[in-house]
């Protein structure tokens, strides 16, 4: 739920606009240092993914459903800086295209991109430090951070409300209701985040930024394999690749099969 125009008064909105600009500027700088040339396409696709992920409805009970906020998920998968840029861009595009809240954009970016994604990643890093160095610990840490990040973002909203709320509600009541409700939302966020991180960790562990230290990229080694070399000349190139692939030596196949196929193409062009 985004803050609309006029919910928080103009000076507070402007102050948090400055906070948001500074925070996103810093995130752009740090993300650029990490993956300089890939930044634009990756951040763009992460933003598109967060946007799509927020449209996926998870049924809760009795016909109600909720959706993902995605701050911690994006931060664990691609890192806090790229994740924060992605979420900030999603919020900006939504404000300009559909949701409104132009003057509240700084507030929303502060809550969801800076507190939600970067702050959530801080919690994740903290939990990783406490837990043992195992892949399952990444999932647990992501769940803990996702759970805590939602009431944390709600707490940031309560702070903004205390500074410049345009409604005379008792502050302790607002704080209690906001943080209470968001603790419930946090449970769902934790479940979705943990299950998603666990799947990506199982299929493409190299893509999970939060698990970088856990595995080492294997060196590419080129090995000559007799069966693959023997299979190719009989015109069964695809079968040769498949049978070698089941042995579990895919890099070796790429090394040994490549030149063979190229040689055959040369033969054909000659004849």
């Amino acid at each position: 739920m985004h803050i609309p125009d006029g919910f928080i008064d103009a000076p507070t909105s402007a102050a948090f606009g400055v906070v948001a600009v500074a925070g996103v500027g810093y995130a752009v700088k740090r993300a650029g240092e990490e993956n300089a040339d890939q930044l634009t396409p990756l951040a763009g696709l992460v933003a598109a993914f967060v946007f799509a992920g927020q449209m996926l409805n998870f049924p809760v009970a009795m016909g109600t459903s909720g959706h993902l906020l995605g701050g911690v998920l994006a931060a664990v998968l691609v890192g806090p800086w790229l994740g924060a840029i992605g979420i900030a861009v999603v919020l900006g595009v939504q404000a300009l295209f559909a949701d409104g809240g132009l003057t509240a954009l700084g507030l929303n970016i502060t809550n969801m991109a800076l507190v939600g994604a970067v702050g959530g990643y801080g919690l994740f890093a903290l939990a990783r430090r406490v837990l043992p160095r195992r892949a399952s610990a990444v999932v647990i840490a992501a769940a803990v951070a996702a759970f805590a990040s939602v009431p944390l973002a709600a707490g940031a909203f309560v702070l903004q409300f205390a500074l410049g709320g345009t409604v005379d509600l008792p502050l302790d009541g607002v704080a209690g209701a906001m943080i209470g409700v968001h603790c419930l939302i946090g449970i769902g966020e934790a479940a979705i985040t943990a299950a998603t991180v666990s799947l990506v960790l199982g299929t493409r562990p190299d893509l999970v930024y939060g698990a970088r230290g856990l595995h080492r990229a294997r060196d590419l080694t080129v090995r000559r394999l007799e069966p693959a070399g023997a299979a190719v000349p009989t015109g069964q190139g695809a079968a040769g690749v498949a049978s070698a692939g089941t042995v579990g030596l895919a890099p070796a196949v790429a090394g040994a099969g490549g030149p063979e196929l190229a040689d055959r193409r040369d033969d054909r062009s000659v004849s």
Partner: protein, 259 residues
């Protein structure tokens, strides 16, 4: 499925607002929303004046009333919150239909709804009269950092594709008999979300390699040329903000004297 762009609120047309360059419209919209936000709640007529201005803009842009109302429905959840305010805000009570309602609560609920609605209407007019690409060009002309513009243009371009992919995955799940009814479906849906992430990320890598192969060197080539704004268009955009500011300032005067 497919074909429908999730992020395309643009309504083609030939009005003055459609012809105005995007940067003028963005400045005008932002300025006008600020004017709406600083208008005091106590001056009810001022919100009527703002509404009149925005309805006039909708009429000038030839937007269908139904379309504007449908897009305004976005703030319905917020309406429920505002409706609760007269019951919970402390203050002197007034009798309305036999129920004791808080007077400041009623005022603040009105202010909240009026500002959120007017702000949303401004964005609806902006988005309906400006194609997405022009909005980005306008933001670029307004000197937003090129990195943010590039990321936003990627997001807008690929959001449709990623959402389509998600919908294809939903069809695949349903065709295999999966019906999400309760929290137990979380595992299956999250697995889809994880797969969607991997596919999006790999698409990002492929797109990046394709861009490198076509000579991408870190910055997108300059935006396609668009007509530079004529002085009359800036005057029109500025006039709109001045009008909003005049309403806000007058409202401030009368609103404070009414207190």
């Amino acid at each position: 499925m497919g074909g429908v762009h999730v992020l395309d609120p643009y309504q083609p047309g030939h009005s003055v607002l459609h012809a105005m360059p995007a940067q003028c419209k963005i400045v005008a919209a932002f300025g006008y929303v600020i004017c709406v936000v600083v208008t005091p709640v106590t001056a009810g007529w001022a919100f009527g004046a703002h509404l009149l201005v925005l309805v006039t803009l909708c009429a000038v842009a030839r937007l269908r009333a139904l379309l504007v109302i449908r897009r305004l429905a976005l703030e319905l959840p917020f309406l429920a919150f505002a409706a609760a305010l007269p019951f919970v805000v402390p203050g002197p009570r007034v009798e309305v239909l036999g129920a004791g309602l808080s007077r400041p609560g009623l005022e603040q609920a009105f202010g909240l709804l009026a500002r959120a609605t007017l702000g949303l209407m401004t964005v609806i007019v902006l988005a309906a009269t400006t194609p997405a690409r022009d909005l980005l060009v306008g933001l670029e002309r307004l000197r937003l950092p090129p990195v943010i513009i590039a990321v936003a243009s990627f997001m807008i371009r690929y959001a449709g594709l990623v959402v389509d992919q998600m919908q294809r995955m939903a069809v695949a799940r349903r065709s295999r008999g999966h019906e999400p009814r309760s929290l137990r479906a979380t595992g299956v849906l999250a697995a889809s979300l994880g797969t969607l992430f991997i596919r999006s990320y790999e698409r990002g890598e492929r797109v990046h390699l394709a861009m490198l192969a076509r000579g991408y060197s870190g910055t997108l080539p300059g935006a396609l040329p668009t007509a530079a704004p004529r002085p009359v268009q800036w005057t029109l955009a500025g006039g709109l903000v001045v009008l909003g500011a005049a309403v806000a300032v007058t409202a401030r005067g009368t609103g404070l004297s009414a207190l």
